[in-house]
């Protein structure tokens, strides 16, 4: 067995540190050439409280690289597949664009690339990891809110972080997906989409138009 077979890569975001600068979002866009109107990683802003007692929370959202990934299970052609370090990767050449993975992912992390007409998502920058580099979003974060490493190695930064903090959470644990993506300092507002309202006119950017995705939609 190689060393990689024991490795299980994971992510942790410390929301106490995140200041919503979107540096990670931009770095991801540039690194992976993510087309307009789609995102592998995005930062959600939620405003809490009533004026003047208000505060803004920031939550980076990306693929959770679940241990029990619904997208991998439903993919009819194994375009979505595990690689030995635990990353759920995607083979865009094999994808038939059925959108089964889009329907299965409880985190809304998978999109159809309008240029290739195939599914796409965060791969934890698998190509960079293969060259022993950190994911682009980790490098770009000015406050080191993104902690990335081997969950199987008790000496890794991420394992130590998880051991040190009591409020480590994942999104939608009830789905049984066993995400390899954790949050520290999160509340329901950060992690549960039903815990905040989406009111037209409140968004900083309204009336966003999306590029046509092909196929047929409502």
């Amino acid at each position: 067995m190689t060393e990689g077979e024991y490795m299980q890569l994971g992510f942790l975001v410390d929301l106490h540190l995140c200041m919503g600068c979107k540096g990670c979002e931009i770095a991801c866009k540039v690194e992976n050439e993510v087309p307009l109107s789609t995102w592998r990683l995005r930062v959600k802003y939620v405003d809490v409280g009533t004026f003047p007692e208000t505060k803004r929370t920031f939550t980076p959202l990306r693929c959770n690289h679940c241990e029990n990934a619904p997208c991998e299970r439903i993919c009819p052609v194994s375009a979505l597949h595990y690689i030995e370090n635990g990353i759920v990767n995607i083979d865009k050449e094999r994808c038939i664009g059925c959108a089964g993975c889009v329907m299965a992912c409880p985190y809304g992390a998978i999109y159809i690339d309008p240029e290739t007409q195939t599914a796409d998502k965060c791969t934890y920058c698998a190509h960079r990891i293969a060259s022993s580099m950190m994911p682009a979003c980790v490098v770009a974060c000015p406050v080191e809110a993104n902690i990335f490493g081997d969950l199987e190695d008790p000496a890794s930064n991420i394992s130590k972080y998880i051991q040190r903090h009591r409020d480590v959470q994942v999104r939608k644990p009830e789905k049984g997906t066993n995400p390899h993506h954790f949050y520290v300092g999160a509340s329901q507002v950060n992690l549960n989409p039903l815990a905040s309202q989406r009111e037209e006119g409140y968004n900083l950017f309204n009336k966003i138009t999306h590029l046509p995705l092909g196929g047929h939609h409502e």
Binding site: V46, G100, A195, E199, E218
Partner: protein, 307 residues
């Protein structure tokens, strides 16, 4: 419930651009609707064979052709809904067997192939498989095709169950709804196809299947409508789209009335008045209404933000 948290926090999303919502639109509705008719007709043909084989005369080929046509409509819309339709062959060369999509694609292909063989045998009047004539061959193969029609009908429910993000689609509820959709539209289609070839008694028999399928499907939808949200806040949020003031409330009720409630009443009336015209009207409404029912149930879970 999270609703209480909302009242306390007044949390409002001020910046988030969720990915576009409805990925499986009316092409997938067409897929499910056409497949219900295609497999449902096979179920009904098999029942007719068991109940009164004499009435099969003159119905075998046309019924199987109509089923074959609807199965091809189902396959066509499945293909058209793919973003990369020319890669469909990947399903056969790189199959991933944990996926209900893969299993379904293989079974549906075999099913349609068998239907083609049965139609060809009837048209060419060739005997095969140690049978004395093409009719005997048809009846022999029909048993196996009917068995295969069960998983072909059910696999879409498997896909919906594997769609973990869509809380509304639960197993075994969706399985029951898929089978009932097939018996509803299958009985409706054979009533319309049967014409003068079916006796009044047989028509009433299929009418009873239609009425009971409508009743059971309606009960399940109403059970989910009323009780679905009591244990899952995600389901409650999804069902809000078909409740008072919901975006799909009108369409939901139009579907329930046209597919289930009115056909149930018409089937009862046709039994009392012994009217085939009323029964035919019930059949047309059930087939048309089911499209609306399926569409609403397909779309509403996709409207809920996942992040």
């Amino acid at each position: 419930m999270i609703h209480d948290t909302l009242a306390a926090t007044h949390a409002v999303v001020t910046l988030d651009i969720p990915l576009p919502d409805v990925f499986w639109g009316w092409y997938v509705t067409m897929n499910m609707w056409a497949k219900s008719i295609g497999t449902g007709l096979v179920f009904m043909l098999f029942l007719l064979l068991r109940k009164n084989a004499k009435e099969m005369d003159g119905l075998r080929t046309p019924t199987m052709i109509v089923s074959f046509v609807f199965m091809n409509i189902f396959l066509l819309f499945t293909l058209a809904d793919l973003h990369q339709p020319f890669r469909m062959w990947h399903i056969f060369f790189y199959p991933h067997w944990t996926s209900a999509i893969t299993v379904g694609a293989w079974m549906a292909t075999i099913f349609v192939g068998l239907e083609f063989v049965m139609i060809a045998a009837m048209i060419r009047k060739e005997k095969c498989l140690l049978t004395k004539d093409s009719t005997a061959f048809f009846d022999k193969v029909l048993f196996w095709v009917t068995l295969l029609a069960i998983p072909v009908t059910l696999y879409t429910a498997g896909i919906m169950a594997e769609a973990s993000a869509r809380e509304l689609w639960q197993m075994p509820t969706e399985s029951a709804q898929m089978i009932l959709a097939a018996t509803l539209t299958g009985s409706a289609a054979i009533i319309l196809l049967g014409g003068s070839k079916l006796s009044d008694e047989t028509k009433q028999f299929f009418g009873a299947i239609l009425g009971l399928s409508a009743l059971m499907a309606f009960i399940i939808y109403m059970s989910e409508y009323i009780f679905g949200g009591m244990k899952s806040e995600e389901t409650a949020a999804i069902l809000a789209y078909v409740k008072d003031g919901g975006e799909y409330a009108s369409m939901f009720w139009i579907g329930q009335w046209v597919a289930f409630i009115i056909p149930m009443i018409l089937v009862a009336l046709s039994r009392v008045s012994k009217s085939n015209s009323i029964l035919s009207l019930a059949a047309i409404l059930a087939i048309a209404g089911l499209w609306v029912v399926k569409h609403v149930w397909l779309v509403i879970p996709q409207l809920l933000p996942l992040s």
